[in-house]
């Protein structure tokens, strides 16, 4: 199965992943087996890789395991990095692929991916416009949104994180999740509607996602 490099189809994503000072040298040295250089790459990228895993999986323990897995894959695959995209773009894509493979293996998987990204009917946001006396503008910051995202059903959360946070296009998400582009658009819209409901009626933060220091 082949994939597009996000940077080829989404220049915006490349802009969001500018090269980091000293990174190119560390990559080259790590490709030549320099253990300290690999440690430097880990320290440069661990937070972003872990945050991505945490958002996609919604679980600290699984996110740590997947972060570990991603860097072990990185160590093994680093020689195939050709510099055609930003290193962080490439590493993010590797991480996303691993998380999706993990979810397929877990069982979210054994049903079709189309079902995987479709939460149950009970989770479907209400199809109404809601009251307009509670406009969100000005009342939503990254902390409140982060908590609401953590409360999303997994399928909605996946598409929302990939599109609205990570910057992937619907055609890329469709390939990654093995669903149609229309399905990706529809799931994203439902995810945003659900977030609107959650933000208008906030509940306590999800305990497994936020370490105490983040709350």
């Amino acid at each position: 199965m082949t994939q597009a490099l996000p940077s080829r189809t989404n220049p915006g994503l490349y802009k969001r992943n500018p090269p980091i000072a000293g990174e190119a040298e560390a990559i080259e040295a790590a490709q030549n087996g320099d253990a300290e250089a690999f440690a430097k790459l880990y320290n440069l990228h661990k937070r972003r890789v872990y945050t991505l895993c945490l958002r996609m999986l919604g679980n600290v323990s699984e996110a740590e395991d997947m972060t570990q897995n991603a860097f072990l894959h990185l160590f093994r695959k680093l020689g195939s990095f050709r510099g055609e995209s930003a290193f962080s773009t490439w590493l993010h894509r590797l991480t996303v692929n691993l998380v999706l493979m993990h979810l397929r293996k877990k069982g979210l998987s054994l049903v079709s991916l189309e079902e995987t990204v479709n939460p149950s009917d009970d989770d479907t946001p209400r199809r109404d416009f809601g009251s307009r006396d509670q406009i969100l503008a000005g009342s939503v910051d990254r902390v409140t949104l982060e908590r609401a995202v953590a409360a999303l059903p997994p399928g909605y959360r996946m598409v929302f994180v990939l599109h609205d946070v990570e910057g992937y296009e619907h055609n890329e998400i469709a390939v990654m999740l093995d669903c149609s582009t229309g399905n990706s658009k529809s799931q994203l819209h439902k995810a945003r509607l659900r977030l609107r409901e959650l933000l208008r009626n906030p509940s306590p933060p999800h305990p497994s996602v936020y370490p105490e220091s983040e709350q």
Binding site: Q3, L5, L72, N97, R142, K185, R196
Partner: protein, 105 residues
Amino acid sequence: MTVPHNIDFDNLKPEEFEHILPDLFATGDGKVSQDPRLKRFLAANPDCAALVSDLETIAETARSLFEPVAEPSDRVWQNIQAMLQEDSVLASIDDDYIDPGAPLD
């Protein structure tokens, strides 16, 4: 799924608007509130305008989440280091994943 060409934006009904909204967000820069075709409709339907405003706020705020917020425990790096010492572990890493560097078909 794209916005149908035969949509009469001057006589749009809220139900039709709701139906095409995912595609309206997916096209252009996602700034549905700035779409000149919808100016009259949104002015006449404040509930729809409020919905658009909220969804735009959510999408815009989501961009700020790109920056990482959390850090893995020290255990993660310790495990990685330990595993890198064992060639057999590296060799057993599942190769059956999508190569991020593979070209588009």
